[in-house]
Amino acid sequence: MILEKLSSQYGLSAQVLTLEAALALGIAILTILATTQSMLVVSPKGWVDANLYKVASDMLLVLDKSKILEGSAEDILDFLNGTLNNNTYAILRIYLPNSTIAIRKPQNATILVTSKFVVAKRMIYINNSLAIAELKLWIKEI
């Protein structure tokens, strides 16, 4: 009845209006489904980031409690290589009173504009002097 009224009012056939209504409904349903699915695809990444942040803060805790930072840069790199997963990249910066040391895993690791990284910081003692350790971690993009 509604379509009949519309068709007489606007000069359109009921067929055309039915098709239009069905298409609109279809597009609306597909949009809702696509939005929900994209939200679901994004959500597991939250866990990866949360876990990575926990790893970063635990790494600094272990660096603080062990004597690794008092050793050489190779010792620190060995620790990063031995502890972190292969697909996890890292940049560790130690801000000493007069200088800064940066250690990268792998040695050519660079944060790209698209890289989503986590940062953890901790105040630590190295050879009885206070320093700030900053660790950036991110998962290698395939």
């Binding site: 039915t18 298409l23 597909l30 489904l33 959500s43 866990w47 790893v55 272990v62 409690k65 031995g82």
Partner: protein, 171 residues
């Protein structure tokens, strides 16, 4: 006569209209139900993965952050709460690690008791301990497939060496 013809033509149009509408409605209904089923499946898998991740992270925290109750436990079957640290977070007592791993390896009953201590519930677990260079011990059950597995790891200090503890929880 003209009137009759006009009415007949109108009913033809309505029948075709109804057929088009029904076909479109039916195809949208089928498409929606298929997508709904797929979506439900995705939500279930996502929820299960989240639960596994949470359990793995929690079990790992229990092991590396606490010393357990009693603090200086020596017999796993008598502990009220398990913990491998020496009282300081992520600093692991090597003796506790050896005792716990031997206990889990001993029997299936002990493995089930360890599941209770780690609060992994109905899921299975595998625990690996690495020193700075290599894997030194692995206990528990190996996952049968790669999917539905949550893996969490934490760096540790063990004696004069560093390493990591990896836990995999799977359905």
């Amino acid at each position: 006569m003209r009137m009759v013809l006009s009415k007949s033509r109108n009913s033809q149009i309505y029948a075709l209209d109804a057929l088009v509408a029904f076909t479109l409605f039916a195809s949208i209904l089928v498409l929606s139900s298929l997508s709904w089923h797929k979506l439900n499946n995705m939500i279930y898998q996502n929820e299960q993965q989240n639960e596994l991740n949470y359990i793995a992270l929690h079990a790992l925290n229990i092991l590396v952050k606490s010393a357990g109750i009693p603090v200086n436990w020596t017999n796993v079957s008598e502990v009220k709460m398990i913990g491998l640290s020496n009282g300081s977070a992520n600093v692991i007592d090597p003796q506790k690690v050896t005792t716990f791993l031997d206990f889990v390896n001993e029997s299936d009953f002990n493995y089930k008791f360890a599941k209770k201590l780690l609060c992994v519930g109905k899921y299975e677990f595998m625990l690996q301990v690495y020193n700075s260079t290599q894997l030194i011990a692995a206990v528990g059950k190996k996952p049968s497939r790669i999917s539905d597995v949550a893996v969490a790891y934490a760096p540790i200090v063990m004696g004069n060496d560093t390493g990591k503890i990896v836990i995999a929880v799977w359905a």
